[in-house]
Amino acid sequence: MSVNRRQFLKRAGALTALGLGGSFVLTGIRGKIADAASQTPSYQKQKQGLVAKHWAMVVDMSKFKTEEDIERVIQSCDTIHNIPDFGNKKDEIKWIWKDDFEHTFTESKNEYLTENFKELPFMIMCNHCENPPCVKACPTGATFKRADDGIVMMDYHRCIGCRFCMGACPFGARSFNYRDPKPHIKTINPDFPTRTIGVVEKCTFCVERLEKGLKPACVEASKGGLIFGDLDDTNSEVRKIISSKFTIRRKSELGTQPSVYYLVGGEESV
């Protein structure tokens, strides 16, 4: 049997079409089977975690009377976050600390302030600003504002230690690890990572506790002196305090919109 050119081309064409079409069908079926057998991996949040649109804190100054009240709060943070104590001011790492009125509210200072006010120790921490200047300064995205709850977070893995954020923060809320912190931590909490030499660190509003459904450690230890909640929720305690009483924020004239409010003289109105 001889095949002429026309017949040969026809048959070859038909075979090619069959082969290509068949392979498409096969891969299609295989894909279907694979999809049925497994799902694509995904990520979720913890179910018991606390959620909010805008976490904020109120510092009720009337609740901080003694040195002990303040030390207890600072200690609660230092121990769970593996904060080192280098024993000198220069290398100090601080997440939450205290300072006097003059240094906390530099713009409101005046020489005729009452003695009582001058000596009041104020609790200070990262303000978790709405317009955080540290985030703008960071060249690697190691510090960023979480879109869902407004917390200004640090990713230590990405920090290159340039300290631009420390220069940008008007509140001095960031500390740099000039030395290896590990040998200077009294007892290491194994559930929380330490930091290494060459990274910046700061308060994170205890994101690791929020996701477990717990309030920040300092709030728990303050016995009501620190009030934590969702500023976007009109029924939250923080929102009620801020909208009904007179509160001040640190350096609000800079426009960073801090999320930490100070209730000064709350005693009389309560």
């Binding site: 694509t40 990520y43 949040k45």
Partner: protein, 124 residues
């Protein structure tokens, strides 16, 4: 062969000298890590759809970014199993040598344990 005996003898001596290091280290250098089969199976079951031994660094990098950047702290694997993202939980207690034995053998020194608490001997 002219002076064949001497040539062959010196060749044998030469080959013997040349291969001393191989015989000396025989069986030593290649002694692989002792890995518990059950632990390896557990490790693979974290994500059955990929080869965990080869690809776990990439997966853990993804975990890290999701955890820190997006606050997504639970991983749901291809079989629908939820896993808490935590290096501490994954590596087990400090006596657990699963990670360390393999990393030491392959001379891989991940920086994870510079900060995260980990098994004994993980930090060099």
């Amino acid at each position: 062969m002219h002076k064949g005996g001497r040539i062959i003898a010196s060749l044998i001596i030469f080959v013997g000298l040349f291969t001393i290091p191989f015989f000396y280290n025989m069986g030593k250098a290649n002694a692989g890590p002792e890995i518990d089969a059950q632990q390896l199976a557990n490790f693979q079951s974290i994500e059955p759809s990929i080869n965990m031994v080869a690809n776990h660094p990439q997966l853990f990098n993804q975990w890290r970014n999701q955890f820190v950047q997006n606050g997504q702290t639970v991983y749901v694997n291809s079989e629908g199993k939820s896993i808490d993202i935590s290096l501490e939980k994954l590596a087990g207690d400090s006596s657990n040598q699963f990670c360390v034995s393999c990393h030491n053998y392959t001379a891989v020194k991940p920086t994870c344990w510079d900060c995260h608490s980990g098994p004994e001997g993980a930090r060099k």
